[in-house]
Every structure is written in structure tokens, then in C-alpha cells.
Amino acid sequence: MSAHPSGKPGLPSAGLFSFGWIPVWRRNFLVWRKLAFPSLLGNLADPLIYMLGLGYGLGRMLPRISGVDYMQFLIAGMIVASAMNAATFESLYSAFSRMRTQKTWDAILVTPLSLDDVLAGELFWAASKSFLSGFSILLVISALGLSSLPLALWVLPIIFLTGFAFAAIGLVVCALAPSYDFFMYYFTLFITPMLMISGIFFPVENLPHSIYLVASWLPLSHAVRLVRPLLLGECPQDIVLHVAVLLGVTIVAFRVAVFLTRRRLLN
């Protein structure tokens, strides 16, 4: 038995760097197309309600934050948070359904595609959902005159990258989950605290230094620090660092997800 370049000896692998993910992505896309309206509504309406509600409601009571209206401040946070949510839900609940409940992955694994292809397809798909979500919010806020085009268009690739990072982490959690209930830990222990300390709703510079330090390690903070200036018509600082963190998280988490899912399904 010869060792394979990536992963367990003898098991065929392809993954991120082949095109095997495309038919998996297209399968998920076809399902989404059938339910596109409620899905888009969920991706769009929820963050918009928060944004308008908090932005106008809370914003009227607040002074200007970091030199801008609270609404202007909040938009970037909501776009990034909804991108994270879209990728997270897709790579937890939907991917888990396809792995466990519907056995969709089992059906694909007996074709020439490998498990790496399946996971890469899920990764690309979950990131695509983030993109869709971010894109539709950007459309609405541009129509409301709340973003500064054309610099704001750079938000789109950042949203995509943010989707990749959280999809990859989500696939790790999916690989470990014994049941749907397990995802609650992930939300309560990771996603929700991260939302609070990553500069989504308020600036993190005023937080205690230790929390600020923790936050600076979280992928969500890096996404916010790229998106916020872009929406305000400024060039972000430390672009390379922020992009590198999001890319790094994607690659490392995806490798871990592949390892864990192989151990789970191909043993």
C-alpha cells in the first residue's frame, strides 16, 4: 500500500486543489435554487432588521462612534456577522444533515469523487452562501445610500474569504458532532462571545486589554477590520495580516476537518 501525498495511507484524496468539488457545489446550489426565496429572505431580512432597529433605535441615543454615526459603524459589523452566520449554519446543520440524516455524502463517496472533494464542495458552497448574504445586504445598503461605492465593492471578496474561514471551522465542528444538539456548544461558547468582542456592535479598543488581546486572535475581528474602513471609503490598515489570518484559518481548519471526517467516515 503506497502512502498518498495528503492524508491516510492508501485512501484516495483530491480536495481543494482539484475540480471534484464542483459537482458537489452544484448539487447544493440546485437544492438552494428550489428554496431560494425563503433562504435569501432569511439571509437578508434578519441582519437588516437588526441593522435598522439597532442603528436607528440605539443610534439616536448614542454619540458618534469612531467619528461616524452608529448606523454607519454597525453596517460593517452586520455584514460580517451575517456572512459568518450563513457559512456557519450551512457547514453545521446543513452539512450534518447531508452527512448523517440524508446520507448524501455516502451516495457521493461510491462515485469517483473522494471525501476530500465532498468537503471541498461543502466549503465552497458554505462560502458561497456567505457571499450571497453579504452581497444582498450590500445591495440594499447601497440603495439606501449607506455605503461608499466603488471602494465598498472590495467588501465582496472579503465576505467570501470570511465565509471560507467560518465554513472550514464549521466543518470541523460538524465532523465532531454526535448530534445536532452538539452545535449549541459551538454557538454558546464560541460564536456568541466572539460576536461581542470582535467589534461588531461596539468598538473593541475600550475593552479591557486582556479581552482586546483575545479578540485580536479571532477571525471575526480581522474580517471587521477589513470591511469597516472599506464601507466608510477608506483603505484598511494591515491588509496583508488580516487576509493572511482569514486564509490561514481556512487552510488549517479545512485540513483538520478533512482529517476528522476521514476518521469518522472512512475507517
Binding site: P23, V24, V31, Q102, A107, P112, L266
Partner: protein
């Protein structure tokens, strides 16, 4: 490409999980164009054997050649020429019949125009022509099974694996599947099926192996196995005191088995048992030819496997 006469060749296959041996050194070969059965009680290692053959589980030891490809190293290439009907349906519930076939064909890299040409034939084969646009959820169990079979044929495979293809189907649906499987063999495809319906194996398989505790306990043609492994006649006796009555007359035949309230006389010649039975009014009896199920039970025992 090697071994052009064998669709599947396995030797010295071993697999254990957490120190528990599931397959303990099995080997067999499936000739091209044959219908080959893998029989065995629950937990005998049938499904693990199939998973090894498809490259879904790396074996601890052993060699597998599937369609001339070494498994698991070359499994993706091998699977391009293989179709699989899994034990439990895993069709896409969100799709129509047509979409299920189309989406599945993409996993093989097949193009839409080609599939548009081929899908009507597949639907016809599965008896689903008028269900083309029906959602999978609206199909009966038998129809889902037939769609799964059609889906396994999208790549026009040389070799078809079927894991308990008729479990849970009513007799009509089962007979229809059997008929289709015979057609596939007639087309020259190789079928490898696991089952614990002995009738299914007897009807379909030219050759079979019986697995128990991860080992092959018998191998051959079903009719030859019946002839070589077991007495040709069976008299089943039940009714009041049947077991005690039978135990007292053990000497009247080659072999006596007791299961619950029923006694089974396995005989080369039934005359003596029949004469003895003629005098008994309270006993009921059934006289029949020995079948594959008798062989199976003789080899694997009567106790339950869960």
C-alpha cells in the same frame, strides 16, 4: 490492467476495529459477467467486505483488485466503472426522479446532453417513465429502490454492488427487482450482492460465499452447495409433544435439529420417518426439499445474531 477474467479478486483480506476482528483473512474471486452472492448473518462482515472493495475502508491486510484496479490506492478510477445500490436508500429527497439521475451523473463527470439521451432508457428500465418529474418523497418503497438501481447505472458500470437490494420490499416489488437484475447479468454486467434472503441468492447467484464471524464457511454454486452440504429432504414436525416425539426417533434419519417447538428431520430417505408419522394424529408435518436456507442454518447455527 490485469486479470481480465476477474471482475473482483480478493486475497488475504483482514480488518479489525478496536482489536475486534471483523474480517479474518478471506479471499475469493468473482468472474466477469457472474452474479456473485455474499451471504451471512448480521455482523458476519458482509458490509465491511463491500466497503473494503469500494475503497471506503482501508484493509489491515490483503489485496483487492476491482476491475483490474488496486484498491484502495486506485479506488477513484475503479469506482468510475462501478455502480452501487446501498442497503438504505440515500436518494436526494429535495429532487425529482430526473434530477436525482442528472445530479448523480455529474459525480462521474458525465455531461448533460449525454445524460438527456440516456435518462429515458434508465427510467424505462426502472419502470419510472411516468414518474420523471415526481419528487422522491412521493415514491413508494419499491419505486425508490428501482430509482436507486437506475441511479447506480448512470455511468453504465461493468460491475454492480448491491447491498441487500430487496430488504423491506413486498413480493411484487422484489420480483420486479430480481427480473431487472437478471437482465443486467444478461447484458454482461457483473453483479456482487449481499443478502440474507436465501431464495434471492438461490435464484440469482451462480456462485456465492457464506461468511460467518469474518470467515468464509462455504463457497460454491447454490445448487451444488445444497447437494454437497446437506441431506436432500426435510420433514418439519410441529404440534403437541413434537419435540419429544422426534427426539425419541432420532435414529430414523441422518440428522435431527430442534428449534423451539419444531423438529427438523434431514433425510436421504424419508420412508422411515413417514411411516412413523402415519401413526400419529396429533402431529403436523411438512415435507419439502432441502434448500439454501437449510445449508445456511447448518453452517451458521440457529442462534440469533444482533
Amino acid at each position: 490492467m490485469a486479470s481480465l477474467n476477474s471482475a473482483l479478486e480478493i486475497s488475504g483480506l483482514r480488518k479489525s476495529y478496536g482489536g475486534r476482528s471483523v474480517i479474518s483473512g478471506i479471499g475469493f474471486s468473482v468472474p466477469v459477467g457472474a452474479c456473485f452472492g455474499i451471504l451471512g448473518p448480521n455482523g458476519a462482515g458482509k458490509t465491511t467486505t463491500l466497503r473494503c472493495c469500494l475503497g471506503l475502508t482501508p484493509p489491515d491486510e490483503g489485496k483487492i483488485l476491482l476491475g483490474g484496479h488496486s484498491i484502495p490506492d486506485d479506488a477513484c478510477a475503479a469506482r468510475a466503472r462501478v455502480g452501487v445500490v446501498p442497503q438504505f436508500d440515500n436518494l436526494d429527497p429535495d429532487f425529482t426522479v430526473n434530477e436525482n439521475l442528472l445530479v448523480y451523473s455529474r459525480y462521474f463527470g458525465l455531461k448533460k446532453p449525454e445524460m438527456r439521451r440516456r435518462i429515458p432508457g434508465l427510467l424505462d428500465f426502472a419502470g419510472l417513465t411516468d414518474k420523471e418529474n415526481a419528487r422522491v418523497e412521493a415514491l413508494s418503497g419499491g419505486m425508490k429502490r428501482r430509482l436507486t438501481l437506475a441511479r447506480a447505472l448512470v455511468n453504465d458500470p461493468d460491475i454492480l454492488f448491491l447491498d441487500e437490494p430487496t430488504t423491506g420490499l413486498d413480493p411484487q416489488a422484489r420480483h420486479l427487482i430480481w427480473d431487472r437484475l437478471k437482465q443486467l447479468v444478461a447484458q454482461g454486467k457483473t453483479l456482487i450482492l449481499t443478502t440474507h434472503f436465501m431464495e434471492e441468492a438461490e435464484r440469482l447467484c451462480e456462485r456465492l460465499i457464506v461468511l460467518d464471524h469474518g470467515q468464509i464457511v462455504a463457497e460454491g454454486n447454490p445448487h451444488e452447495l445444497i447437494a454437497s452440504q446437506i441431506e436432500p429432504n426435510v420433514i418439519e414436525i410441529f404440534g403437541e409433544n413434537a419435540v419429544a416425539w422426534a427426539k425419541a426417533r432420532r435414529a430414523l434419519c441422518q440428522r435431527l435439529e430442534i428449534a423451539g417447538e419444531t423438529a427438523y428431520f434431514y433425510c436421504n430417505d424419508t420412508t422411515l420417518v413417514c411411516e412413523a408419522l402415519d401413526k400419529e394424529r396429533a402431529l403436523h408435518s411438512l415435507h419439502r426439499a432441502a434448500n439454501l436456507e437449510d445449508v445456511f442454518i447448518k453452517l451458521t447455527g440457529r442462534e440469533l445474531r444482533d
